[in-house]
Amino acid sequence: MDFTFIASTLVTLLKAVPTTLILFSLSIITGGLLALVIVWMRTSGNPVLSSFAKGYIFIFRGSPLLIQMFLVFYGLGQFGFIRYSFLWPFLREPMVCAVLSLALCTAGYTAEIFRGGIRAVSPKEIEAARSIGMSGFLLVRRILAPIAFRHALPAYSTEIVLMMKSTALASLVTVWEVTGVAQRLISQTYRTMEVFLCAAIIYLVLNFIILQGMALLEYSLSRHRRAAPQALKA
């Protein structure tokens, strides 16, 4: 084992971690907001909106992310009206394309997860809220959203880990995140195993931290389900 090489590889790869984290957090935030819109359309009861949402979910969950990413990165530039529009300076950037395709993809999965969470809210809780005169946005904000989010959290944390892994695909559209830097390092040193193993360890640590954070969130949101402290029981 060549520890000096491994140490210097780790240092080089760690410098790419911020890029990975930016990709990850931008796509999670954008994808999450988009998912809210889609789940609203899906559950709206309007047949046009809900079949659009169904189609969206079908397309983005049914095809590989890589082909979606290539479609955005290579495909959009083919059209003159996009190339000569104000959007082009953004869509020319690999980073923007990667975030866009990651967000579009995760929105499909996240919308389904949120929908499951909403369906798990007991009708009695909604009835109770209505009976004291709560309705509309207040009902969503105080009753529906918090309960649905708590139900959806375990599935959502799995989706977040999947997204962290998906950021590796951005290396294929020339974003220099951890996997991309690892590949460049290999083309310089030809030491495949060491470099890829270092990259794998970095992803494992990142995912471990994410899962711990999500578990902590889940724990703090389920205060009402935990046994009360002895002093309060009387």
Partner: protein, 241 residues
């Protein structure tokens, strides 16, 4: 679009190549799922064994292969496997570089990943078998092998079908990443067609549609299999399963 004939089956069309590539995607995914089923069964058995060492080993496997990006695992197996093959070749007196065929490397990589997911599916299915049935089997004197073959296996299979359907969909989409090794599957062929005709949008849409066809087709096959496997179950028991 005037370029639709590019998708046709004529001499200038890519239609036949795309269909062949879709079949290649199916073949590599099916191989991967078979490899993953064997690995998954072993790992699930290890995790259920109660032996601390085996349980830890199983946990490490499922954590690592579910936590590391699929692309990295494919790179690792493709390049790592090639250097291993080269080392074996040199030990046997062959000079120079030997590559691992991309079909084998790809199926192995996706199979190892799907093995981690299948292990959880099998474990969940085993835990869902009611304790009473296992006790009943022991009570009438069935020994371990017979209990496994007659009581556990048929039920694990039935209960695992929905989970296996998910793993299949996951592997089908992961198989697109094997394109980085140069295997002419659906993703790679769409890429080559897009590059050589400069019709990127057209060919990536066509490739994407073929993937959608594969995923929705396999979805209905798995739904059918689930119905068939449950055909002897009473309607009320289905709600509990």
């Amino acid at each position: 679009m005037a370029s639709l004939e590019l998708l046709g089956f004529g001499s200038t069309g890519w239609g036949a190549l795309l269909i062949a590539a879709a079949l290649m995607t199916l073949a590599v995914t099916a191989t991967a799922l078979a490899i993953g089923a064997v690995l998954g069964a072993i790992v699930a058995a290890a995790k259920l064994s109660g032996n601390l060492f085996l349980v830890t080993l199983g946990n490490v496997y499922t954590t690592v292969f579910r936590g590391v990006p699929e692309l990295l695992i494919i790179y690792l197996i493709y390049f790592g496997g090639s250097s291993a093959v080269t080392a074996i070749g040199q030990a046997m007196g062959y000079e120079g570089f030997l590559g691992l065929p991309s079909f084998i490397a790809g199926a192995l990589a996706v199979g190892i990943i799907s093995g981690a997911y299948q292990a959880e599916v099998f474990r969940g299915a085993f835990l869902a078998i009611s304790k009473g049935e296992l006790e009943a089997a022991s009570a009438i004197g069935m020994h371990r092998g017979m209990r496994l073959r007659r009581i556990i296996m048929p039920q694990v299979f039935r209960l695992a079908i929905p989970g296996l359907g998910n793993v299949w969909q996951l592997s089908l989409k992961d198989s697109a990443l094997i394109s980085v090794t140069g295997l002419a599957e659906l993703m790679r062929t769409s890429q080559v067609a897009a590059g050589s005709t400069r019709q990127y949008f057209l060919f990536f849409i066509a490739g994407g549609c073929l993937y959608l066809l594969l995923t929705s087709l396999s979805d209905s096959i798995f739904n059918g299999a689930e119905r068939r496997a449950n055909r002897s179950m009473p309607a009320s028991a289905m709600g509990q399963a």
